[in-house]
């Protein structure tokens, strides 16, 4: 009996040593990961099933994590695609519950109009196409009116509102995107955006978003994609840029969390 006990005791000790090694290893790994993550920039990224061309995603940093308005100029380039459609829009996004609101223009082989977009949770998502068409650079804007409502504007005029199912969640992410869903990689899909501005919860006026000068935009024509004339002397630099290789416009590029 005592011999059996001794053997079990020894085995237990050996197991403890082994476990200690594993725990130490795990702690070291956790420490490495935590240290690395603390130094990470704030950024947004995407997944999905559509091709993305051009920029998407700007995240407000730090204490100002609630974006209540986003505005930008969009060039309504018609790529004369043979199938599918392209959305070019400014948008705001929330993680929890998921919420996407956006406005810009809808571009297909048969329809070329302003539109507004909303997508809330598991509800069906909607592209609501307006009657008028973009003809030049135009300003797309969405603003949070109150706790329940977003308002869509084109060139300063409202084109509609959208009420959340319950209360609209705060949107820490906003940006602009040119999205193509035809899977036609050969098509030239341009997403031209100009002077994207955001308003955070405590901002009384719009703040400029600053791009990153040395960043690759997209593969079609890097000089003409993304934000063309980003402010170089931005007085407020609290907005972040996603802009990693993850967003570059490879075929089947992912689209985040945004389920367009």
């Amino acid at each position: 009996m005592s011999q059996t006990y001794l053997v079990l005791e020894i085995m237990l000790e050996l197991m403890k040593i082994s476990n200690r090694i594993v725990i130490l290893r795990a702690q070291t790994l956790l420490g490495m990961v935590a240290a690395a993550m603390i130094s990470l920039p704030v950024m947004e990224y995407a997944y999905g099933e559509h091709n993305i061309y051009g920029y998407m995603a700007v995240t407000a940093n730090g204490t100002f994590n609630k974006i209540v308005a986003v505005k930008g100029n969009i060039y309504p380039y018609n790529s004369a695609m043979s199938s599918g459609h392209i959305d070019r829009m400014v948008y705001a996004y929330s993680y929890l519950p998921e919420l996407s609101v956006g406005t810009g223009h809808y571009d297909s082989s048969t329809i070329f109009k302003y539109f507004r977009f909303f997508d809330e949770g598991l509800n069906d998502q909607f592209h609501i196409i307006s009657s008028s068409s973009p003809s030049n650079w135009y300003t797309a804007e969405i603003t949070k009116v109150d706790s329940n409502t977003w308002n869509y504007k084109i060139n300063g005029a409202s084109i509609g509102t959208w009420d959340c199912d319950s209360t609209c969640p705060p949107t820490p992410i906003a940006g602009a995107a040119s999205l193509e869903i035809s899977y036609g990689d050969a098509n030239n899909v341009y997403g031209w955006f100009d002077v994207l501005q955001l308003k955070r919860e405590n901002d009384s006026t719009y703040q400029n978003w600053q791009s990153v000068a040395n960043q690759s935009k997209c593969q079609e024509n890097p000089n003409d994609l993304g934000f063309r004339y980003y402010p170089t002397a931005n007085s407020v630099n609290n907005f972040l840029v996603d802009a990693t290789t993850f967003h570059e416009c490879t075929s089947k590029q992912s689209m985040a969390i945004l389920q367009w």
Partner: protein, 199 residues
């Protein structure tokens, strides 16, 4: 010493060492991919990940891919180890929103009531299941398909396309004042294990 004891000791030692070595060899080295370390060097995140609870369990073969740290929220994305590109089917999002004195404050205070309200107001509330994780109110649903509808202002429908949505689990911690979610194209049971391991 008795031969039987010696034999037992040797077997025990070999077994323990084997288990230890196996465990170490199956633990992947965690590295943050370069793509997650770019841009915005002049604007470091002010949030601190140590302020948040994070999952202790991840499905095998996944590692941290990206993060978004704010003062009252944390998003972590996981993807397969050594992934060179990410697909929606690969990514797991973990997100926690702490009491922010506003929207999430109210929501957390409501607890299960909020989940019931959300389920009742959703078009697809029938696929949502309210349950408990470690005594905390939770809600889950499997991945599925919904409609992407394009229509004119007057309601004329132009196009309807199916779009996927991922499986998801929500959990509300009314004691620590936090709202958690895990989202991804995994079995919802796996997501439940992830969010249940938060600590």
């Amino acid at each position: 010493m008795n031969t039987k004891i010696l034999f037992a000791l040797i077997v025990g030692a070999v077994a323990s060492i084997t288990i230890g070595i196996y465990t170490l060899s199956t633990t992947q080295a965690e590295t943050i991919p370069n793509r997650a370390l770019t841009i915005n060097q002049d604007n470091p995140a002010v949030g601190n990940i140590s302020n948040f609870k994070t999952p202790r369990y991840l499905p095998a073969g996944n590692t941290i891919y990206d993060s978004d740290v704010q003062n009252t929220s944390l998003a972590l994305w996981y993807s397969p180890v050594n992934a060179t590109s990410t697909d929606k089917d690969d990514l797991i999002l973990y997100y926690v929103a702490m009491d922010d004195g506003g929207y999430y404050s109210d929501l957390i205070s409501k607890g299960k009531t909020f989940l019931e309200e959300y389920k009742a107001s959703s078009q697809r509330g029938n696929v949502m299941t309210i349950f408990e994780i470690n005594g905390m109110p939770a809600m889950k649903w499997d991945s599925g398909t919904k409609n992407s509808i394009t229509q004119f202002d007057d309601g004329t429908v132009v196009d309807v396309e199916p779009v996927d949505y991922p499986a998801e689990v929500w959990m509300i911690d009314t004691k620590d004042r936090a709202f958690y979610t895990v989202r991804g194209y995994l079995p919802v049971e796996e997501l439940t294990k992830i969010i249940g391991s938060v600590g």
